[in-house]
Symmetry: C2
Subunit: 334 residues, 2 copies
DNA sequence: AACGACATCGCAAACGATTGCATAAAAAAT
DNA sequence: ATTTTTTATGCAATCGTTTGCGATGTCGTT
């Protein structure tokens, strides 16, 4: 009365050896077609499914890939996950999903759990709290292919999928300048996050190329959430900026809410630009000018890179960095 | 030069048997504390991690649970997933994530893949295309605990987490009636989906209890997406409804867009009520009156139920149905 | 001095599947 | 009729871990 039907069960019932059953199920040419048919038929009727766990143990590799993201309930990551799922599913892989909750400790635990699950590879966007990459180095030592996306370590020897943050930020700020805005503020994110840093750099370059000095009164670094945007604009308010370039859409939204709250009008008094083109951007009032990131495509690209690395496991792998293009979407906040 | 450090490696290095190492790592009382310390120390320095795959094989159970959802990039499911992750992570389980893309075939494949991964349990919200439950019955025969949420089979003998859809719909429509709306239309979903059916039932009951006959001119059944809402209102338009109760928020949004497009004003000419309280609801112009579903809580509840069932595997399990409360959120579309 | 009680540890089988090698029978070639 | 080849199947080891049982060795007890 075993619950799971095993290969041995089939063997016993048919009075053949387990090896024969295994070969028959894998359509090995050594097995005669009559026996093959008998075995296939029984397997079918008993609803036999090979035990992936045992197969993995034997083959020293599973058909699962790990994914670690800071949070799930977030347009961007959800879309990325969607892209990852579609590609890996095609390739016969399943996703082991972990969430870091932006915590370094939880990220470390996740890598350990996933490693001991023997994932074939790992796709990661690192947490805000994460500053060192020891846990990922440990995975590389075990030859587990690794692909980072969006939030990456700049000098980590692995494949990455990023967007051209600097360029995107540049084009947004440059557009603001060309539109005649003079006092352009920046609400930035934590500068140890490469995306936050790059966006700040793009902001600076745009100003410089237009011969506008970077005034640090207009620059604030905080978190990546809506409340951070509100807090930041509160402090910025005294300097009367006529435009705000936020590190991402939630922060931009936070700023918008605050701007409206203090009685200023958008974009007449203050223009706002976000980053990411979250769903919220097209829906908020007024609709937010922002920089679109191809989220689904990033997930799909990361998954494709990972699948490649897994397949050619033994050949010398080279870390490839894929930079996807951003796109400035002009709406009503500028 | 093995990549993975195994228990046997430790054993060899320390000239003890693998069983001793195993027991030491599991803090078995038979092992003396000096040897324990030696083993622990080496395990630490060699960055040893037990192979989950081998453990799973031996123990006939993994520390993973499967999750099948129709799509990921959707506020509701993403939030549910968030809830599931938090609870299962606490319990030491990892999520194997599959997406059905609303397709019956893909759902069937997913159940097979997950079963052969030997998941300890499964959480599912069924696809729109799914009409029979054979694949889930097959899982139950293998004694894999199953919990459905949101979209469930009404008469399937397993635990479920649902919201009181009928009651939620009733309260929304009742509110519309009390507010003085007379010609209340319903843009419904596929009636084989229990949630769509229940919401329609709530709509009917509200009308009936207020002595308003249900006029099927005002009722349309379609899909669950934004475009379906637009299409539906197009056809509804001729009957001049003064209020629309949509089966969910995307459909409501589709209707809103269409209503604005034909030059009607909301809520003056037509009121709109959605269902789910997606992020979009609070952001769209005008902000949408809708019925809030506790998405995160549903995920967390489903996960808790599943954890319980897994732990008391052998005792007779009873299917428990947990019904969470909805909440009418009144915004500006009514 | 002899015997049982403990404390430590190893042996070996097991989980379910795969696979190189050996073996047996049947078919083909001489 | 004998040898060679082909075809079909079984044996046994292996992946990494766990665990019941048995084998030591060390004490304390009478």
């Amino acid at each position: 009365m075993t619950v799971h039907v095993t290969l041995k069960d089939l063997a016993k019932r048919l009075k053949v050896s387990p090896s024969t059953v295994s070969r028959a199920l894998n359509d090995h040419p050594d097995i005669s077609s009559p026996t093959k048919k008998r075995i296939l038929a029984l397997a079918e009727s008993l609803d036999y499914h090979p035990d992936n766990v045992a197969q993995s143990l034997k083959n020293a590799c599973t058909k699962t890939i790990g994914v670690i993201i800071p949070e799930i309930k977030h347009d961007f990551f959800a879309s990325v996950l969607d892209g990852i799922e579609d590609i890996t599913h095609e390739a016969g892989y399943t996703i082991l999903l972990c969430k870091s909750n932006e915590s370094y400790e939880r990220e470390v635990i996740n890598t350990k759990v996933l490693a001991s699950h023997r994932i074939a590879g790992l796709i990661v966007s690192i947490a805000q709290d994460t500053k060192d990459s020891l846990h990922f180095q440990s995975l590389q030592r075990r030859r587990i292919p690794l692909v980072f996306f969006d939030r990456v370590f700049e000098d980590f020897p692995s494949s990455k999928v990023i967007v051209n943050d600097e360029e995107g930020a540049f084009s947004a700020v440059n557009y603001l300048i060309k539109s005649g805005y003079k006092r352009i503020a920046h609400i930035g994110g934590p500068q140890h996050l490469s995306i936050a840093k790059k966006r700040f750099q793009g902001y600076c370059r745009a100003l410089e190329e237009n011969n506008i000095p970077v005034n640090m009164d207009y620059v604030l670094f905080g978190g990546m959430y809506e409340e951070d945007g509100g807090v930041a604009f509160d402090r910025l308010h005294q300097f009367k900026p006529d435009a705000v370039f936020a590190v991402n859409d939630p922060v931009a939204v936070g700023a918008i809410v605050k701007i409206k709250a203090v009685g200023l009008s958008i974009p007449k008094d203050v223009a706002v630009v976000g980053f990411s083109d979250n769903a919220i951007a097209s829906i908020i009032d007024p609709p937010l000018t922002t920089i679109a990131q191809p989220a689904y495509e990033m997930g799909a690209s990361a998954a494709r890179l990972l699948m490649d690395e897994i397949q050619q496991k033994n050949s010398q792998r080279k870390a490839v960095v894929e930079t996807l293009k951003t796109r400035l979407i002009i709406r009503k906040t500028t």
